[in-house]
């Protein structure tokens, strides 16, 4: 009895059960007709796969880290709400106790206004906000948002950011360019050869990790090129820290 098409196809695709396979292979050693059928089926499959491959387009350069940005469709439970309240209270306490915080003064003025009335409140004096500083070479804990892309032959990382946003850049042994924001609401858009980051809101620091193997990666803040890695050469508008990291800001000097 010859092999039917079900068995021939299963043989091609490794879908025969082990005892069936032994039986089929034993039959093929003795039956030239079935051997010919199997060979024809292999040729037909190769022909089909070659034709289907003509339909292919290049896949997009998304990675799994992008999925972290997608909202989870889960209602917050009581545990989450309680954790949120505790977190908010802790943050408020830390803000109140921080040296130079305007919060105590603001609360005092609010209390005065409530107890004495509008006309007796002195005008509030705003404490100037000092520029942010970052510990050299230490990435911030937590990554609320980020994206990773394969750098390809060349990649432009283009920031369209707020006034005092900064980017800490360093080289890694990874295979992907990663961009993370340490807070705020950033929008990441990945295109062919370009990764655009838009951020509007309170200043945040971005972290940019570039593979050492990336042939060409350029970082721009608006129209200004602040960082360029071409093969083994790095040209940046700021000096590297001892840990080999570059802190880029829009006010980085021309070099």
């Amino acid at each position: 009895m010859h092999l039917d098409s079900e068995r021939i196809q299963r043989l091609l695709h490794g879908e025969l059960r082990s005892f069936d396979e032994a039986e089929v292979r034993a039959h093929l050693t003795a039956c030239a007709s079935c051997g010919s059928d199997v060979a024809r089926a292999e040729r037909e499959e190769a022909w089909m796969l070659e034709r289907l491959a003509r339909l292919d387009h290049e896949p997009p350069r998304f990675t799994v880290k992008m999925l972290g940005l997608a909202p989870r469709r889960r209602r917050p439970g009581w545990g989450r709400i309680a954790a949120g309240i505790v977190f908010a209270l802790a943050a408020a306490g830390a803000a109140y106790a921080a040296p130079g915080s305007p919060l105590p003064g603001a609360i005092r003025h609010a209390v005065e206004w409530l107890s004495v009335g509008w006309h007796s409140v002195r005008p509030a004096v705003r404490t100037p906000v000092s520029s942010a500083t970052f510990p050299a070479g230490t990435p911030a804990a937590g990554t609320p948002a980020g994206i990773a892309v394969v750098p390809g032959a060349s990649l432009i990382v283009a920031f369209d950011v707020g006034r005092v946003d900064t980017a800490l850049v360093w080289l890694t042994d990874g295979a992907e360019v990663e961009v993370r924001s340490t807070g705020g609401a950033a929008t990441f858009t990945s295109g062919r050869g370009r990764l655009s980051i838009e951020h509007r809101g309170p200043p945040v620091r971005f972290e940019v990790l570039i593979p050492r193997t990336a042939p060409l990666v350029e970082i721009r803040f608006g129209a200004r090129q602040l960082f360029l890695k071409r093969k083994q050469t790095v040209i940046a508008r700021s000096d590297p820290t001892r840990a080999g990291r570059y802190l880029l800001t829009q006010s980085s000097p021309e070099r």
């Binding site: 879908e15 022909w47 034709r51 339909l55």
Partner: protein, 159 residues
Amino acid sequence: MFGTEFRRLFRYLDRLSGEPDLAADLAQEAFVRLHARGTMPERPEAWLVTVALNLFRNVKTTRARQRRLLTVARAESVLADPAPSPAQTSASADASAKVRVAIDRLPERDRGMLLLLAEGYSYRDIASTLELKEASIGTLLARAKRAFRESYEGDTDAP
């Protein structure tokens, strides 16, 4: 898992739809749903392709409805389409178009089976995705391959 499954899922949807942007959207949406699900299904690759196929069917249904409602507008749009670019008329694009015509002529079941097989899905996954009996997948695949070849050769010169 994303690294291996996304490419496979994208390629399957791309070949199925002929629209790489749509394929990317659907593949990404399937992964987002897997993420939102919270727990991993027993066979995640089969789960992903089933969800993606259902999403694609929804898109097709919606488009068909829109076509019925906007027949006149669509006809005007077609008439206003620009002439194909040189790249589109190249030999490569021509070869791709022939395959597209041949695969689109097949019944949905045959088309789905061949494209899933080409991506290396198991008979079990093919059966569960297309709601078929696993025991007859080999026979159905042989028929689908024959139908694809006849469809291709009916439209073009024999290879």
